[in-house]
């Protein structure tokens, strides 16, 4: 038991590592604030384009979305980070992560929003158009607000996954929470900094998990 506490919950080491862990947490939050809006933007573009009636738009879109859903995000990130320099493009870890998340999470948000848009009855669009709104105005003021409400649990769930996924940025040496914890662990030969980082992630994300559980149960009750 003593060994366990020494190795995993060593208060002395956690305290010593706390400054860089806080820095890591800040970077994780900043990264999330960067990649979630980027992914949403990509998703909205994909979802709106997929409502166009032309097959030559929809099929390439589908292949695009499925490609980035099939490729593990870490593979995409390493491909961008390690591959682009060979084309003479030196990019920072932040840029590589931003591009990778735009492509990957954009595809997921796009699928969710597309389902949302399809859930809005066709009559809504027709009614909106007949009052004189343009197609873009109809999308912006009538369809998207209802679409987002209909798929809100899925959007929150995906956002939770995106925030968790920011931990892969540690692989390209972006100093976010997991990276800083690994640094502290390799200096101290003690796992406590990683445990501390795990506790930080848990405190940050547990409320979201609880909220999702509630929403899912409500959804289920409505279907019964």
């Amino acid at each position: 038991m003593q060994d366990f506490l020494e190795a995993f919950l060593n208060w002395e080491i956690m305290r010593e590592a706390s400054p860089i862990l806080w820095q890591g947490l800040r970077a994780t939050l900043l990264l999330s604030l960067l990649v979630v809006p980027l992914g949403l933007l990509g998703g909205i573009i994909l979802a709106v384009l997929s409502t166009l009636p032309h097959a030559w738009v929809r099929w390439p879109l589908r292949v695009w979305v499925d490609t980035f859903r099939a490729l593990p995000p870490l593979v995409l990130l390493i491909f961008i980070f390690a591959g682009l320099p060979f084309l003479g493009l030196e990019i920072s870890a932040w840029t590589a992560v931003a591009i990778g998340f735009f492509l990957n999470t954009g595809a997921y948000y796009g699928e969710i929003l597309r389902a949302g848009i399809e859930s809005v009855p066709r009559g809504q669009v027709e009614a909106a158009r007949s009052t004189g709104l343009s197609a873009a105005q109809t999308m912006r003021f009538i369809v998207l607000p209802q679409a987002v409400r209909n798929v809100l649990p899925d959007l929150i769930s995906n956002t939770l996954e995106v925030v968790k996924l920011t931990s892969i940025a540690s692989v390209v040496a972006l100093p976010e929470l997991l990276f800083q914890a690994r640094q502290a662990q390799s200096v101290t030969y003690n796992a406590s900094p990683i445990v501390a980082a795990a506790i930080m992630y848990f405190i940050l994300l547990w409320p979201v998990v609880r909220l999702l559980s509630r929403l899912e149960n409500k959804q289920l009750a409505a279907r019964r």
């Binding site: 099939a70 996924l165 920011t166 931990s167 690994r182 559980s213």
Partner: protein, 226 residues
């Protein structure tokens, strides 16, 4: 060299690709084995937890909910790193493969427990009562009446979640497992040429593109009936 030649020489270099193809194929096999082990163990553990939860023992249910929440909230890579770099300091060595397997199994267990549980609670209470009143015991009622109805509802969300978590096998490369990504990365650092990465990305597409399409098909085939 023109820009195009430079591009093909970097990303589609036939000589480098031929050299690292065998390693990537080995990695391909390893990724599949790892994925299958995760799916089998994760789904069984998730179903077991959901059945335990159906017993309705209060303190036990709180514990199950906490464990599920924990593994839904923690990033998989954090769990893998904790197992791989943390356990040795307690005198327990876990290989990279075992760390990745255990971490992702726990994650799949947590997510699938939620889904199985949602399926079980979606079966009307009257079904339970009717089954029990005909003389079936708890396990029989669960096995013959409730689960068959519940599982059908769980198939689409379960498929999507399983696919998403299985793609996490690429994280195993971080703890030195020579899976597809691991083989591709070491190919890159030995040859100073990113063609092995191209091969690796293609291998993942070959593996997961059909799976993603299958997920799409299952989603429409088993859609919730209102």
């Amino acid at each position: 060299m023109t820009g195009w030649e430079r591009f093909t020489d970097s990303f589609f270099n036939a000589r480098v690709m031929a050299q690292y193809l065998p390693k990537i194929i080995e990695g391909f096999g390893l990724t599949i084995v790892l994925a299958l082990c995760i799916i089998a163990a994760g789904l069984i553990a998730g179903l077991a937890l959901a059945v335990l939860r159906a017993l309705g023992v209060r303190p036990l249910n709180w514990l199950i909910i906490f464990v599920v929440d924990l593994f839904r909230a923690l990033p998989p890579l954090v769990i893998i790193v904790l197992l791989f770099f943390g356990l040795p300091s307690m005198g327990m060595e876990l290989s990279g493969f075992a760390s990745a397997w255990l971490a992702l199994t726990l994650v799949l267990m947590a997510f699938s427990e939620e889904i199985f549980w949602a399926g079980i609670t979606s079966v009307p209470k009257g079904q339970w009562e009717a089954a029990r009143s005909t003389g079936l015991n708890f396990l029989q009622a669960l096995g013959y009446v409730v689960l068959p109805q519940a599982l059908r509802l769980t198939i689409p969300p379960l498929t999507n979640r399983t696919i998403a978590i299985t793609k996490g096998t690429a994280l195993a490369s971080v703890v030195a497992v020579p899976d597809i990504l691991g083989a591709a990365s070491s190919g890159l650092s030995h040859s100073f040429n990113p063609s092995p990465l191209t091969l690796g990305a293609l291998a993942y597409l070959v593996l997961f593109f059909p799976v993603v399409l299958l997920g799409r098909w299952i989603e429409t085939r088993f859609a919730w009936k209102r």
